[in-house]
């Protein structure tokens, strides 16, 4: 119910003044394309593809020098995780995509199935994480991971 009220108010606020202003002959604003969600999906697909075919060279190239709290430890953890067993499956479902200047925060659920070398059965893990990517000289790099890291 709360959601219906908020959405109704959202559109009521927009539509009524818009009609009045258009009749008054005002000009349009410059519109920024809203493609953050598409961008977010591309970024996650990209980093998970690199992780599935891990090499330190390619994976670390996607992690920002400003990674918080600690870049080297994050890469080491990902590397150990990859070396511990084959990644059979890695799925994600995006909830929120929040742009902030040159940053893009993505909240998503993930599922990961691995086959550790020392076990006879696959391990299924699930989690919820927030990845923050930052645009450094035109390239999107991972700047922060909060929550359950899939790596």
């Amino acid at each position: 119910m709360r959601q219906i009220i908020i959405v109704s108010l959202f559109f009521s606020c927009m539509v009524m003044p818009a009609m009045a202003e258009t009749q008054a002959g005002q000009t349009a604003v410059i519109v920024k394309p809203m493609d953050d969600r598409e961008q977010a999906e591309k970024l996650l697909v990209g980093i998970f593809d690199i992780y599935r075919n891990y090499s330190r060279d390619t994976f670390s190239a996607l992690v920002s020098e400003n990674f918080a709290p600690a870049r080297a430890e994050f890469i080491d953890t990902a590397e150990k995780d990859y070396a511990a067993g084959a990644v059979l499956e890695l799925n994600f479902f995006i909830d929120q995509v929040l742009p902030a200047g040159k940053k893009l925060a993505i909240q998503f659920k993930w599922e990961k199935k691995t086959k550790p070398g020392n076990l006879d059965h696959p391990i299924l893990r699930k989690g919820f994480a927030q990845f923050m990517f930052e645009n450094v000289k035109g390239k999107w790099l991972l700047g922060q991971v909060i929550g359950n890291s899939p790596f």
Partner: protein
């Protein structure tokens, strides 16, 4: 004027919205997906459940000009699904709502936003109100009053409220000495609302305040400096009475020097024990020294070197031992052929050593790594290809049986063809992994093959396919497996202007384990319609 014509002018659907158009624009997307899953075999090893699920998603964006130079931007993302993998609740869920009133100097934001003050003070997704005010080109203020999320009755987690302010000042705007001189101060408090959910035995409410100052100084020349100094005040219900407040500092200082040929950076990082971040969670205590050196010999040859040295167990640490890490990394990027800059070679080596005060109970060890990768493009036939090799050796000093050696060999190739005047794209990526432990001379041999392609049947109809094969021949007895994942997709573009698509997709996933007990099959049929407007 007919109503429909008037409506089309008011609610400008589609197009760029630029120029002297209407003052209101509504855009977004609607998608509907129906998925049928069939799982057989050991279904406990599958994420899927048998049956049919649907996912309906609507994304609406509104931009509207307001009085003066203000405009309004709004976004709503709604989802309804009965697939518990996507959402456990089946009602219409507003996953994201954001409303901004802004002009070039000021921003007032309500809903979901990313609170971004500084690495130690605030950097997280929030729900509430946010304002950015710039009274002059040298001043900028931010205010946040929000929460990190709703109270969670399942985990008995309280609602966590966040309040914060940040003030930034730019000095020497017209200076000939500095290109950037920013100083900022910020304060953020997070506090649990203990009335938001019924208390469980494990629930504790916390209050944490972080005060911090940060800045960037860039001289008109090769030198620059980034820094942040923060102090946190934390207390929770478990603190002894009178409730003690844990106080600690965190510091990061990063000077750098860069010219056309050189890039040298140093990072000093300190997080004292019991320093709590914006989310109220303890950061691992650590002192770190990191040096990066980049040198460009020419346009075609460059080298990157990193030395990273850090240790924990600072005075007051809750950790039982000190672990010291020392890592070196060197990589070279080369375009060895002068007339063929698409041919790029990247050799690299790294060495990471971990030492501990308590070797018998720690992961004390050393990791050595060496690799080389190259990529090239044969322009005449549009062929991208490359190869890589990586060797990794891990030596565990505390537990020798955990030591192992890893060889990874990979190839990739992709090319565009013309078949019956239509585009055909094919990509192949075979890999071989060889791994053995120090105590076993037999190797785990993993072979992976990835192949995908697309054929443009017509201007509006596309056929896509993907196939991956993972075949593991393990050193341990009765541990081999084969996994086959195949998908094919037919994508019909219904409307080019609005990018409306109808997609049918079939996925097949077959996992066979040697003992037969872990094997399963997954079959999925997916129908998806989406339209952007």
């Amino acid at each position: 004027m007919p109503l429909s014509v008037h409506a089309a002018e008011v609610y400008y659907l589609g197009g760029t919205g630029q120029g002297n158009g209407p003052a209101f624009r509504l855009s977004g997307s609607v998608s509907q997906q129906v998925i049928h899953n069939d799982v057989s075999g050991n279904i406990s090893k599958s994420f899927l459940k048998r049956g049919t699920d649907y996912i309906s998603e609507t994304n609406l964006n509104v931009v509207k000009k307001l009085l003066g130079n203000y405009s309004l931007e709004g976004q709503v993302f709604l989802r309804k699904t009965d697939d518990p993998r996507v959402d456990v609740r089946r009602d219409v869920r507003m996953k994201q709502f954001d409303l901004k009133i802004l002009n070039p100097d000021n921003l007032y934001e309500f809903g979901d936003f990313y609170g971004d003050f500084s690495p130690f003070a605030l950097g997280s997704s929030l729900e509430g109100a946010h304002a950015v005010l710039s009274p002059s080109s040298s001043q900028k203020y931010q205010v946040v009053a929000a929460r990190t999320g709703e109270a969670d009755t399942t985990t008995s987690r309280f609602q966590r409220n966040v309040a914060g302010v940040k003030a930034d000042h730019q000095f020497f705007l017209d200076s000939t000495a500095f290109s950037n001189f920013r100083m900022g101060v910020q304060a953020v408090t997070v506090a649990d609302d203990s009335s938001s959910v019924e208390r469980a035995a494990s629930t504790k409410d916390i209050i944490n305040t972080v005060l911090s100052t940060d800045g960037e100084i860039a001289w008109r020349g090769p030198l620059a400096l980034q820094y942040e100094v923060a102090h946190s005040f934390y207390k929770d219900e478990t603190s002894a009475e009178p409730r003690n407040t844990d106080q600690a500092n965190a510091v990061r200082i990063k000077p750098s020097f860069s010219t056309d040929k050189w890039g040298i950076g140093y990072l000093y990082y300190l997080a004292q024990p019991k320093f709590y971040s914006d989310q109220g969670s303890a950061m691992p205590d650590k002192i770190q020294h990191q040096v990066n050196v980049d040198y460009r010999f020419s346009q075609r040859f460059s080298v990157n070197m990193v030395e990273n040295y850090y240790w924990d167990h600072l005075p007051g640490s809750s950790q039982t031992k000190r672990t010291t890490n020392n890592e070196q990394y060197v990589s070279i990027t080369a375009q060895p052929m002068e007339g063929r800059t698409s041919f790029v070679v990247r050799p690299y080596v790294s060495y990471a050593r971990k030492d501990s005060d308590d070797p018998a109970n720690s992961a004390e060890g050393a990791t050595r790594m060496a690799g080389i990768a190259f990529n090239d493009l044969i322009q005449a036939i549009g062929l991208n290809y490359g190869a890589k090799y990586e060797f990794r050796s891990y030596k565990d000093y505390a537990n020798g049986t955990a030591s192992d050696y890893f060889h990874r060999i990979g190839f990739n190739a992709s090319r565009d063809f013309k078949v019956w005047q239509r585009r055909l794209y094919l990509a192949l990526e075979p890999n071989i992994d060889l791994r053995r432990t120090k105590t076993d001379t037999n190797y785990d041999v993993g072979m992976n093959l990835g192949a995908n392609g697309q054929y443009d049947i017509s201007e509006r109809l596309f056929l896509r396919g993907n196939h991956t094969l993972s075949d593991m021949n393990a050193a341990r007895p009765s541990s081999d497996y084969v996994q086959t994942r195949t998908s094919s997709e037919l994508d019909f573009m219904l409307n080019q202007a609005k990018t409306a698509h109808f997609i049918t997709r079939y996925e097949y996933n077959h996992y066979i384990f040697e003992d037969g007990q872990q094997s399963y099959n997954e079959n999925r049929i997916i129908g998806k319609f989406f339209i952007n407007f």
